[in-house]
């Protein structure tokens, strides 16, 4: 089995596990401010896990790309510690708040610059804005066959076989490489990456290559911002919760009565 070269696109976002209280909506500046540490978008971590599993199966090289205004290499080094071979940060002020189409365009140029690859993997949607577009648009822009919602990926000589989620269950599909695949969480959670491993890496201080818009080769016209016309807080989903008290038996009884009342 020949080795394969995989490119994984990973987005850095504020921790989606952060409590509601840490999120603030500024309607005037039309900004959502999340006071939470930065992490890699969960489905992108699944994409990385899929890539590492493939590398363990057939061997090869994994290149991770991450695009943003300011991409923290502390956060993204996790991708190397997990098994990525190369990390390239795509950093430029112009990359702030890009819409999905422009993001895909910039990534496409970066992927072309990386050059040789067999698979491009990315998460099905980002954990912050959940648009779910960049992967497929990127595939179209690169002229690649696109497969979305992958739950299992296998590589055969020259082609890739994917189990993709469909409403009735799953569909097994096959296409020639190079191809683009968007990945869902069924592919597997990213293995635990110890801080020990990451600290060792950071102390070994490998320089991480950073490309800006010019180096990638994308022009400013192609980079459009998210066209936000208005931003507001969602209607309050809060309800007045009645918390029961007493012994476990008492509480259970009261709840059972509530159920009976709802019959």
């Amino acid at each position: 089995m020949t080795e394969i070269k995989i490119i994984v696109c990973a987005k850095q976002i504020p921790d989606p596990e952060a409590p509601l209280s840490d999120v603030r909506v500024d309607a005037e500046k039309m900004e959502v401010i999340v006071d939470a540490p930065l992490v890699i978008s969960p489905f992108d971590e699944n994409a990385l896990e899929a890539a590492v599993q493939l590398k363990e199966a057939v061997g090869g090289k994994i290149t991770v790309l991450s695009l943003g205004k300011k991409v923290s290499d502390t956060v993204l080094r996790k991708t190397i510690a997990a098994g990525g071979d190369e990390l390239i940060l795509l950093q430029d002020d112009q990359f702030e708040n890009l819409d999905s189409y422009s993001t895909a365009a910039a990534l496409a140029d970066a992927v072309r610059k990386v050059g040789d690859y067999d698979l491009v993997l990315t998460g099905r949607q980002a954990g912050d804005w959940d648009s779910g577009q960049v992967g497929l648009i990127l595939g179209e822009m690169l002229g690649l066959p696109c497969i979305s919602l992958a739950r299992a990926i296998q590589v055969e000589e020259g082609s890739v076989v994917v189990e993709k989620s469909i409403p009735e269950g799953y569909e097994r599909v096959k296409t020639q490489m190079p191809a683009l695949i968007t990945v869902s969480n069924e592919v597997g959670e990213l293995r635990y990456i110890s801080r020990t491993k990451m600290l060792k890496m950071m102390r070994g201080s490998r320089k991480i290559p950073t490309w800006n818009a010019d180096e990638i080769g994308i022009s400013s016209d192609a980079l459009q911002k998210m066209g936000i016309a208005a931003l507001s807080s969602p209607p309050d989903m809060g309800r007045d919760c009645q918390i029961f008290e007493g012994s476990v038996d008492d509480q259970a009884e009261k709840l059972a009565e509530v159920f009976m009342g709802l019959k």
Binding site: D99, S100, G127, D130, I137, I147, G169, Y170, F244, L262
Partner: protein, 329 residues
């Protein structure tokens, strides 16, 4: 004449309910634009669905029939849709935020060079520049944003159960056939087999008992099954749901997942056991009529959106609850 085009979906020969909701949305936008609404149907044979569509009063129904359009092969559907859009030249093109829509819309956006907004919960036309105003939740649901982009056609996918379905009306619209120029060589992704899995139609449930990380282990779902059974004596259609964490841990299959990347539901009763209430989960169930939360962490988000709450270990509460339910029913 500005046209608002809707991509209808056909389920077992008939028009899918989502398409009627889209039609409703389309009618609204068409009147704001001062234009007309049309529906596009694709498949091997869509005559019956097309008639049904016509009877709901669109100005036009386009039929794209081709034997290769049997089933759903994304490569061919995207190619055919691209051709249709170029031929019809609509001002606005709406699709449902469904399995088909999520696959086709982004690729269409790339080919037609027009920005897309997905999962919209509201749409309207901006009276000043005639552009589509797309409203959608962002940041996992923490904010509501209204987007606007240039480009033709204006592209959006629409969330289900948000718009009111179009009523049957005058079937005065015209039927037009479009022949897609597609052939087998356009299929880049070959389908090997389709495997049906027993799936859980969570959105049909009237009562959902859901478990999350707080269960601590797979066996926790056994207790929830007991509760579901006990509730089944008094309610119909009681099903088990879960949060994404439970799926990630391999405790339960993903078709039970409730949330932004699972199923969005609005049952009569939602019982959240050991679920903290991350926003991506909340948006999937917060419209349930009554929400009950059982969790040991009294500061978790779930208690903020629940009607009733018990702050105890579910392993203590559920057996007691099952007992009481059996006594009372």
């Amino acid at each position: 004449m500005s046209e608002v085009l809707i991509l209808g979906e056909v389920k077992e020969g008939s028009l899918d309910l989502k398409s009627l909701e889209l039609l409703g949305a389309g009618k609204k936008l068409a009147s704001e634009l001062g234009g007309k609404v049309a529906l596009l149907l694709m498949g091997a044979s869509v005559t019956k669905a097309a008639d049904e569509a016509l009877s709901h009063g669109p100005a036009k129904v386009y039929k794209m029939e081709h034997p290769l359009l049997e089933g759903f092969k994304p490569d061919l559907w995207v190619a055919a849709l691209e051709q249709a859009c170029r031929k019809i030249g609509p001002k606005v093109f709406l699709m449902g935020h469904s399995f088909v829509g999520m696959e086709v819309a982004p690729r269409l956006s790339a080919r037609l060079n027009s920005r897309l907004t997905t999962d919209c919960i509201d749409l309207s036309m901006d009276p000043e520049d005639g552009l589509l105003l797309r409203t959608k939740p962002v940041s996992g649901g923490n904010a509501i944003s209204v987007f606007k982009f240039e480009g033709e056609p204006q592209l959006a996918t629409v969330r289900a159960k948000v718009f009111v379905a179009a009523e049957p009306g005058d079937a005065t619209g015209a039927m037009e056939e479009i022949t897609p120029e597609i052939d087998a060589s356009m299929i880049k992704v070959e389908s090997i087999e389709i495997v049906e899995e027993e799936s859980v139609a969570l959105d049909k449930a009237s009562v959902v008992v859901a478990g999350g990380a707080g269960l601590g282990e797979e066996d926790g779902f056994e207790l929830l099954e007991e509760l579901a059974e006990a509730l089944g004596e008094s309610f119909d259609n009681v099903m088990i749901g879960c949060s994404r964490v439970a799926v990630d841990k391999g405790w339960i299959s993903s078709d039970h997942q409730v949330g932004l990347t699972g199923t969005m539901i609005s049952p009569d009763i939602y019982v959240a056991v050991g679920i903290s209430g991350a926003i991506q989960h909340l948006v999937g169930m917060v419209h349930a009529k009554k929400i009950i939360a059982i969790n040991t962490d009294k500061s978790c988000n779930m208690f903020k959106v629940a009607d009733y709450g018990i702050v105890e270990d579910y392993e203590d509460v559920i057996p007691a609850l099952v007992e009481k339910l059996e006594e009372l029913s």
